[in-house]
Symmetry: D2
Subunit: 298 residues, 4 copies
């Protein structure tokens, strides 16, 4: 199949290599033209602009967006809306909010253009060698791209999830679970690190990654991280986040679903951004007021 | 009533003044003899030792311990066990663990000596002007001291709670609630502090302390703290703890009672003791492994 | 001062009585005309419609909305926007979302009409005998109504909080704290209820309400509730919520403020709405899969 | 290697089959003699009693306990202490508390007998086909059994963790992480179940188990559970627990380690045991007291 990938960052770059290795023709575009040129040397067809990328495709055109969630997606959808024809297919493979995907679906549908919201999990390695893809949107559009999707995901690691938004919704929830799992792993190692025992953390992760109930890719990655830095002495425990955990909690609140573990994993990320906290100051000051307990001065 | 106070720290000192102002005779002892001498000038009878304090009382002797929870209580109970006679009454007014109070009760009961576990809330001001007291142990021993207890607690702010340990158990739970309330207040002010609005926190605490649903002594103290330091700039948000919150949670776990707010208020105290966290490092390292997300180097 | 109250539910009705008892002239209107008639017998001036209420006032007119948060506020603001004149003052005393209050402020400001967002705490009793009011909006509009505000709030229980939205924002945070405090109290009693001791809960609440660190109105109300039903046997532990706790958490998430206690108190409310949970089924099924642990069949 | 397995429940039975399939000689004993007889038909040597099992071994004897944590372990350790000789090795492969394992290690060491605390993860399938084993105790004892351990754990899924107790400590933490992960998965599916989308949960688990960041054995098991019962309609969401999660949290508290996700996953298990809650009643009653909000009557 011939298609265009717009956005050649960590995910889009690897996805393009994956597609090429399965004999698909990929028109590659990025605002940083060096990325497309690099992929050109790997067999992709570099495009100089969005217009150029569209022009290099034949109907029904398939355009895969692999850009960060946010305004840039809307800009591209607007631009493509003017360039594409009925029957063409736009895929958003990024981490967009599912409500925005529903809006974009409606916007393109008004022009007869299909929009598929594709949640992609598996990191850079997944993009390159086989990820997990959750795909919402019109079934006929999905059917058109399924052979290509099958090629780039090993072991049938993809799912057509139904109506518009359901792919990104599912990916959002996946990330919420991921937050909880990662925090759980982190907490376990924190207790080990504070304990009286002197464990080799890489070996702990290795043994847990083999045969245990908690084995899985995250544990493989935990071992890999500890192999590089046995006690993680070189890094700070600042946990950034890029939105999906927050969206998951907000969605849970809207649905009145009790999700304490997802909530706490998100809140501990926020806590990690602050060196000191105002709530801590208030509590310390109160303890001093009623009990004369000493406070720590700055 | 004539009684001895052993331990003249912040709480014992103020309690002695409270008793003296209600015309009770107080034999006062502390390892730091200057404390008893000071109270001697206020009308107390200074004692040079535990033996001396006991010798200065008449049967049935009433001895009130106001010392930190822990070994020192056991040492005093052992010492008093040898010095006292059947019918005498030992009061533990500190924050002892209720299980230890039950053991001490049994130990003294074997000698015919009463033991009352008295949980005391209200801080230093309460000790001085009227606290809240929760009293477990033999009813007849309570009946003997009730007139004195009534004097030092305004508005009948005391309760005979029944069998041995029930006083300290109730105080423990009180402190668990206190942890939750303080954390709730702290969190509220943290959101205010991070918001786009520029509130005068002392005024906020003042208005909340007048007529609102959340009015109470903690809010009065919050106002007082902000009056001294408008943004609490001079202190660090390190939240120490002295045991009762932890005991409350441990007890809740034993009883399989779901207490998420008490649990989280305790865990945030522990979190505040660490400048950086190991769980944060693990999560940051994992994000880097699967998604190539940048980590913050030390 | 002469003013109109629109909305004579639990809060508006009591607020009207409060104003009347301080010799203010109150034009009273509710969709249920019997409420205005009732208040007419107490000295209020019943109005037959919003138009009638406005007509009964003189410039600068003061209109106080005491209606549930939501669409009805917008309908009234639109209606009043057409009826009022520059310099008039609309007060929203309900629990509106602060962002909506900012929008309404802007909408009325375009017509020269003042809008004050007044967060009101203290329950029905507060509305009647003196509440806590947090007031955002134009300072000159506040200055105009301050004498009236002073009358109906004892001990200066009001605060001008600054720009539009800041009153409702502060009330929102107040409610977030309230959620945390209530859950903390509830958890404490749950541990008592599951403990080996047989406490008289009304007496426990009474003693905690007198002299303790956690004394306050919520503890007074706890005592009152237990006096009516010693073990709360007649009611179910279903905890409904009306929005402010959710808004507080959503705001905290937007500000990246770690508020675990507020979060958990909200999530436990949602949890209480479900008799059974899907997350529980998943965990139970997983335990069965890996360990053969028995599941409970329906 | 020749060794005895005491305790032929789900784990011990499968472990025996595993050992037999690797040509080890297994003396098998259980209080239910039919279990040993059954395994006798598979090639094991049935023993009629603990004494008989010991008598059937040659020095240095290796005895593997596979019984539930608790008193039964102490009874067996006492019994074996009298039957065994210096140099013999007792293995506790159950989920004992690490502090008890240290005590048992000391008790047997006084007689010259080795004690290895072996945390075993992987469920029944792991016991049968290759689990994950974490082994604390004397290194020489470990060295003696390592060849056998290697046989029954694929991919080197075992780790010698050092001094006594460190094996069971590590297994305890493993289970704490497991609690967090399972709750995270459960919460994710709860949000899906409450959402507007109609997902096929088995297919969701399948796709997440292939290529995603959260792939792992728990996700495989999630798929398996949903294949049997698409919406888990037949079971109740009651989440029992057998101790390790509680011990993990208690240990974290002792070490002042902030573990909110592990804490909440445990507390939600406790919450699931109650059809109604007392904290919910208190909160509902309080809302009624201050705001007149309706309560749900029983």
């Amino acid at each position: 199949m011939k298609l265009a990938i717009l956005g050649l960052g960590k995910m889009g770059y690897n996805l393009t290599l994956n597609l090429l290795s399965h004999q698909h023709e990929v028109v590659a575009y990025d605002v940083d033209s060096s990325r497309a040129e690099e992929l050109g040397r790997e067999g992709a067809i570099p495009a100089a602009s969005v217009e150029d990328a569209v022009a290099k495709l034949e109907a029904p055109r398939v355009i895969w967006l692999m850009v960060p969630a946010g305004e840039i997606v809307d800009q591209l959808v607007d631009q493509l809306s003017a360039l594409l024809s009925p029957g063409d297919i736009v895929i958003d493979g990024g981490n967009s909010h599912y409500k925005q995907s529903v809006e974009r679906y409606e916007r393109l549908k008004a022009k007869g253009i299909h929009f598929l919201d594709v949640g992609t999990s598996g990191g850079m390695e997944g993009a390159r060698h086989g990820a997990c893809m959750m795909i919402g949107g019109d079934r006929e559009a999905f059917a058109h791209i399924e052979p290509m999707i099958r090629d780039i995901n090993v072991d049938k690691g993809y799912l057509y999830t139904g109506e518009a938004g359901s792919g990104h919704f599912l990916k959002m929830i996946h990330n919420g679970i991921e937050y909880g799992m990662m925090q759980a792993i982190g907490e376990g190692f924190e207790v080990l690190q504070k304990s009286q025992y002197d464990y080799d953390f890489a070996e702990v992760a290795r043994v847990w990654a083999n045969g245990s109930v908690i084995r899985g890719w995250l544990m493989d990655l935990t071992e890999r991280a500890f192999r590089k830095d046995a006690k993680l002495d070189s890094i700070r425990g600042v946990m950034h986040s890029s939105g999906e955990g927050k969206w998951t909690l907000e969605t849970a609140l809207d649905l009145q679903a009790a999700t304490p573990v997802i909530a706490m994993s998100l809140l501990m990320r926020y806590r990690s951004l602050d060196e000191d906290t105002f709530h801590g100051k208030v509590v310390a000051a109160l303890r001093n007021e009623f009990g004369g307990h000493a406070v720590e001065k700055k």
